[in-house]
């Protein structure tokens, strides 16, 4: 008998809200977190993209100065989201040897790395901070969360580009099912709104250039889509063995019923145009959760707003759910908060869990002329989801051909 795993705590800091209640409220209203960047470096380096979606609450308004000093900005966001999720779970006592961490990032401490490189060049090796290595290492966020919670059953950092956050949930589910932990703090964190990653993503033609209209730039499924909008932040979810949650009388948001991870082995960045890897991931997650297509009422799509990315996901959804996809409410929440890279899967998982719990699908903004090749039922104003036993899916795909899917079932 497989252990059932439930979600009992949620946390987030995002461009549309510095905590879960604010983010959820905005996600149902439909707002954009994208803004013109006022930083000097946009002009200094003549960046072709002048906007991004920064976290609405700066980390330094939440963490103390001394605490923040020892963390890369990505880790700061991760710790903020983790603390909110932990408080939300209501767990007061736990055997630390039964508490694990699976906290992902796509890029890791890029600010720390590049600041240290600038310091080395300008001031010499003596001025490179001794905390540089622990701050830039990609496992820094999982390590900081583990230290913060006293979690001793392992601290893991799945790294699979923009699928990382979703892969963390896959790993968390496995850790509980296999009996290695009773509770896992899962999540993803990213802080890459720095001129170098902006230049690099722009160089590969992945970013929207809609500089005169940042709020209208992230437009998944729209014919005018021209790339994604860089976001930042973190999402966190407390996964718990069902019997553990019931024994302490926890509030249960839903069940993490199934997950899966596949690889395209097709191209280093381009998605398989037939969406074959994504299809296998969707089917495997549904099989894992014993889910029939008809159970699925909502999908939080990966949908980054790139010309080439959005369509293969649609192809995969139709291949996995058949014509039932026409009855599924699809939300592309990157339209509101941009693409949080390694954090996106975790934040979208939080939204997916809330959609199932509150029976409401969040809004996709900026859809004016829907691409006729992507005939999905896209949620453009907050919509009620049906009562009864339902399932929602969340997809994430990453450079490298990584595909990760989670399935959340109502309790």
């Amino acid at each position: 008998m497989t252990r059932k795993v439930v979600i009992t705590g949620l946390g987030a800091t995002t461009p549309i809200g510095g905590d879960v209640p604010t983010m959820w409220n905005n996600a149902l209203k439909g707002v954009s977190g994208a803004r013109t960047l006022e930083d000097e470096w946009v002009a200094t380096y003549e960046l072709p993209v002048h906007f991004a979606a920064r976290c609405s609450t700066p980390a330094l308004e939440v963490l103390s100065r001394v605490e923040a000093k020892r963390m890369d900005p990505s880790t700061q966001f991760g710790v903020i989201a983790s603390r909110e999720a932990w408080a939300d779970s209501g767990i007061t006592e736990i055997d630390p040897d039964r508490l694990a961490v699976a906290f992902a990032t796509g890029i890791g401490g890029v600010w720390t790395l590049l600041n240290a490189w600038d310091t080395l060049k300008e001031k010499g090796p003596r001025r490179v901070l001794p905390m540089t290595v622990p701050m830039l290492m990609p496992n820094g966020v999982a390590a900081a969360v583990s230290l913060d919670l006293g979690a001793r059953a392992g601290a893991h950092t799945p790294v699979s580009a923009c699928a990382s956050g979703t892969e963390a949930l896959h790993l968390g589910l496995e850790l509980i099912r296999s009996g290695k932990a009773d509770v896992v703090m899962c999540g993803g964190a990213e802080a890459a709104i720095h001129p170098m990653p902006l230049a690099a993503f722009a160089s590969m033609q992945a970013l929207s250039r809609r500089n005169d209209d940042p709020q209208g730039a992230s437009r998944p499924y729209d014919l005018g889509r021209d790339g994604f909008v860089m976001g930042e932040g973190a999402g966190a979810l407390v996964l718990e063995a069902e019997e553990h949650a019931i024994a302490r009388g926890a509030r249960i948001y839903g069940e993490l019923a199934g997950t899966s991870v596949t690889a395209d082995a097709y191209h280093i960045t381009a998605p398989d145009p037939q969406g074959l890897g994504a299809t296998r991931a969707l089917k495997a997650a549904m099989f894992d959760g014993r889910i029939q297509a008809e159970d699925v009422v909502h999908v939080n799509a990966h949908a980054t707003s790139t010309p080439v990315g959005d369509k293969p996901e649609y192809t995969a959804l139709r291949a996995s759910l058949g014509n039932h996809i026409d009855n599924v409410a699809v939300s592309a929440t990157k339209s509101q908060m941009g693409h949080l890279l390694g954090a996106s899967g975790a934040v979208e998982a939080v939204l997916t869990v809330l959609a199932v719990y509150h029976r409401k699908a969040p809004v996709t903004i900026n859809l004016e002329n829907q691409d006729p090749e992507i005939p999905l039922d896209v949620v453009t104003s907050a919509r009620d989801l049906p009562a009864g036993d339902v399932v929602a899916l969340s997809n994430s795909f990453g450079f490298g051909g990584h595909n990760a899917v989670i399935a959340v079932r109502s309790i």
Binding site: S64, R65, V66, R126, R127, L129, P130, M131
Partner: protein
């Protein structure tokens, strides 16, 4: 050239910036590790910041001899002389 009082005040500022400890807690007889709970990584950051602030060089092999705040004040005063 800074007086010992000025060096102490400057060090207290650096320690406060790095650890959040109140500047008045940074007294000459306090041990960095035992009393102020400063780990080796923070100590190196404090040393490098002190080098910049006071225009001195504190060799790595000297850092282990700086057990108390007073040791650091004396070393910096001597190095400035």
């Amino acid at each position: 050239m800074a007086s010992n009082e000025e060096i102490l005040a400057g060090l207290a500022e650096i320690v406060n910036e790095e650890t959040g400890l109140a500047p008045e807690a940074v007294e000459v007889d306090k041990s960095f590790t035992e009393d102020l709970d400063i780990d080796s990584i923070s100590m190196m950051t404090i040393v490098v910041n002190a080098e910049e602030k006071f225009g001195v060089r504190i060799p790595d092999e000297e850092v282990k001899n700086l057990k108390t705040v007073g040791d650091a004040v004396s070393f910096i005063a001597g190095a400035q002389a």
